[in-house]
Amino acid sequence: MNILPLLILCSLSLGLVFLAVFFWWVKSGQHEDLVTPGMRVLFDDMPHETMNEQTKEMTSIEPKPQTTTHE
């Protein structure tokens, strides 16, 4: 079963790469903020004036009145 060392080596080095990335990200502050990143994805970056009406409505974060779509 000479192949096992190779597979374990591959798996381990992959694990180590991930571990290094983990420490790097901890150090660089990726894991500092555990709340706002989840919220920030909800915002869109399209300048408001370039949106058409539909898009404005679809990208609005405000709760909107129930609308029914075309059927």
């Binding site: 990143p37 989840g38 994805v41 399209m46």
Partner: protein, 717 residues
């Protein structure tokens, strides 16, 4: 500091979305066809249209074409928005898109022609393997380039999943694809037997993990909060979810080889990590479901959220069932049966399919700046597809349980209660129901296509979507001043240079080929009586691979009384040392064949029986669902590669005498004439160079050399 205005590339997202729809329909249609072939063997009407050749086409099409393009659709859409940057290079995006589609087309052409390596989900031959590697590198460059030029410092959890996907799939694909080419379209795996099995299932398991799971978790973390319009339940949990999942997944592969000739400790390692996987998997599922806390009323109206919820539940079921199946006592019953087919389809149809549908329904109206044409049709699609999954999975579970238990049942005298054909007869009607489920699911896809076409018609496509954000560099330098300018600035402005450099790096990586060659030059426990394949048997083995026999027939007898009683002596690792590639199979739609040539063995059939059976299986085995292979008697054996094949095998460590390749053709002829002579005695006239003879020779080689070994049992390390 001023806001920058830039544009998201929607064209590439659109291209991948169309490819997803197209290949999804094709892949599922092929799936429907192969499922019907299992109760209507007449549907195997041509060599390119047999189950053995079409089943790999189905799996490759749905995994790499449908799910693959769906991943790219979602990644190209979400990555740009999460990083607040256009993709690194439009050229790379297009190379990625067209390259991937070309790979799919070449798969669709080669697999029905029987050009296959036989390794599950890695059937494509070596030139296509290289193309996959190159295109994957292009995808990576484009993704990492975008990450480098991002305007958002924090890298959102979804992107971590994309990164892990890219890194791991690259490694798995390369390690599993080490092949020694014999010709442009034929190669042999450098690994043999048990080793090949281990590499293959290390790959196979992790392909499920890092192609079907992690990218979709990443997509879930972006699209689900967007669809529900609320942040993910716990960002903290998503971090734990990510790190624990990627650290544990890679070790679970050996659970595909329980009770095989793989060393016990490796099997146990696989089981332990499989059980541990429940925690991160369910953590992710719960994080998704709990995102909807307080918003469950939305699910009532919104078809998209319905798809996501059922998708997540399917993910939870599949990832609970997976560890269960990896328990040895459950696996003893479930392995080789339809239970596994049910399991993967709950994951594939439920998790990958439903998430893909939801994502397409979500991004297409946005890119066309309109609303979904019909929410009612989307809801209808949801219900048809959900019914489809139920009609698929429930019969397959019953079928799996029936097979598993019937194979193991003994009568009062201690004899096996059912012969194999009886177990096939028992489950046929379940196959009909399963096809109905597949038909429902596929119909749902067409409802979606119609809905999307109507949506596209009423909207106007926004190819370059404007966006505004503050540049990262300005924000960064304000924070950590004094740092030198980014080293990657230089690369960023030169995508083509970066591409060329990386290609050079990748070709250098080809040198790494030497590494596995060092590892494979070994002798596992050899059994001295096991001889290499004779030339005719080797050619027969290649026909076995070409016809995809391994899709339905296993070559591994597990150490259970029910199996040794049915097939003969259980398998030992030393038997497989010359098997490049291994052909254990993963499913017993038909019986195991590895004792087919055992002298006086339980499943040893004469040449005449094999001939009649290949010409029409229903003649020798009434009720059989195997395709007929009349062309094997017609077609002449192609010997043009014989010398190269023998030399290649010798390179891989098979002990053919030096110069044997020159004598191989004569030996082959002699053996073929012997078999033709035997057949003639039984009244069958066969051309002395027909492929049929090679296949029969191969089937008679399986297990033939084992018996003398029992007497002179000489095992050495």
């Amino acid at each position: 500091m001023n806001k920058e205005t830039f544009f998201y590339d929607n064209r590439i997202v659109r291209a991948f979305a169309w490819a997803t729809l197209l290949w999804g329909a094709v892949g599922m249609l092929v799936g429907l066809i192969v499922s019907m072939q299992l109760f209507l063997p007449e549907l195997n009407f041509a060599s390119w249209h047999t189950f053995g050749r079409l089943r790999p086409l189905h799996t490759n099409a749905v995994i790499f074409a449908f799910v693959g393009n769906a991943i790219f659709t979602g990644v190209y859409y979400s990555l740009q928005r999460l990083l607040k940057a256009r993709m690194f290079s439009d050229v790379l995006s297009r190379v990625h898109f067209w390259g991937w589609q070309l790979i799919i087309v070449s798969a669709a052409l080669t697999l029905p022609l029987g050009i296959s390596t036989s390794k599950e989900y890695a059937e494509l031959e070596w030139p296509i393997d290289i193309a996959i590697t190159l295109i994957w590198v292009v995808f990576g460059l484009n993704m990492f380039g975008t990450i480098l030029k991002r305007r958002e410092k924090h890298i959102y959890v979804g992107i971590w999943f994309y990164i892990a996907t890219w890194v791991t799939v690259a490694m798995l694909h390369i390690v599993n694809s080490f092949e020694l080419p014999v010709s442009f379209l034929k190669s042999y795996s450098v690994y043999a037997g048990v080793q090949d099995a281990l590499v293959q299932w290390w790959y196979g398991h992790n392909a499920v993990a890092f192609f079907l799971t992690t990218p979709f978790l990443g997509l879930m973390y972006y699209f689900m909060p967007k669809m529900a319009n609320r942040p993910v339940y716990s960002y903290k949990l998503s971090i734990i979810h990510f790190w624990s999942l990627i650290f544990i997944y890679i070790w679970a592969g050996p659970h595909h080889l329980l009770y095989s000739s793989l060393p016990d400790w490796a099997q146990t390692l696989g089981v332990v990590f499989s059980i541990m996987l429940i925690a991160p998997s369910w953590g992710g599922m719960l994080n998704g479901l709990l995102t909807l806390r307080g918003a469950w009323d939305k699910v009532r109206e919104d078809a998209l959220l319905k798809f996501i919820v059922v998708g997540l539940v399917a993910y939870g079921m599949a990832t609970f069932e997976g560890p269960l199946l990896s328990l040895k006592n459950v696996n003893a019953i479930a392995h080789f049966t339809d239970w596994v087919v049910a399991h993967v389809h709950v994951g594939g149809l439920g998790w990958n399919g439903f998430l893909t549908f939801a994502i397409l329904y979500w991004i297409i109206p946005r890119m066309w700046q309109t609303k979904l044409y019909s929410n009612r049709l989307a809801n209808m699609h949801f219900w048809i597809a959900t019914l489809g999954i139920l009609f698929y999975a429930v019969p397959m579970y019953f079928s799996g349980f029936s097979q598993g238990f019937m194979w193991k049942e003994f009568d009062a005298d201690g004899n096996l209660k059912y012969n194999f054909l009886e177990t096939v007869e028992r489950i046929k009607f379940l196959y009909v129901l399963r096809s109905f489920g597949g038909l429902l699911y596929l119909s749902g896809v067409f409802v979606m296509v119609y809905n999307i076409m109507k949506t596209v018609k009423q909207g106007s496509f926004l190819a370059n979507e404007p966006a505004e954000a503050y540049p990262l560099k300005a924000a960064e330098t304000a924070e950590d001043h004094g740092k030198p300018a980014y080293w990657h600035k230089w690369i960023e402005s030169r995508p083509m240079t970066m591409l060329v450099f990386s290609l050079i790096l990748v070709s250098l990586g080809g040198l790494v080929q030497l590494v596995p060659m060092i590892f494979v030059k070994e002798q596992v426990k050899t059994i001295s009586s096991i001889k290499p394949y004779a030339p005719l048997e080797l050619e027969g083995r290649d026909i076995y691979i070409r016809e995809g026999c391994n899709n339905c027939h296993s070559q591994l007898v597990r150490p259970f009384r029910s199996e040794t009683k049915r097939y003969g002596e259980y398998s030992k690792s030393g038997e497989y040392v010359y098997d490049h590639p291994f052909l254990w199979g993963s499913k017993r739609t038909g019986p195991d064949l590895v004792r087919g040539g055992e002298p006086g063995g339980k499943v040893n059939r004469g040449a005449a029986w094999h001939y009649a059976h290949m010409m029409n299986p229903r003649v020798t085995s009434p009720g059989s669902i195997m395709p007929a292979y009349p062309w094997l008697a017609e077609q002449e054996l192609d010997l043009s590669l014989l010398e190269k094949k023998i030399s290649a095998m010798r390179t891989l460590g098979v002990p053919y005498a030096p110069g044997y390749e020159k004598e191989a053709a004569a030996d082959l002829k002699k053996q073929a004439e012997e078999i033709a002579g035997t057949l003639k005695k039984d009244g069958y006239k066969v051309k002395p160079n027909s492929e049929m003879l090679a296949l029969i020779a191969y089937l008679h080689k399986l297990g033939r050399d084992l018996k003398p070994a029992e007497a002179a049992a000489s095992t050495q390390q």
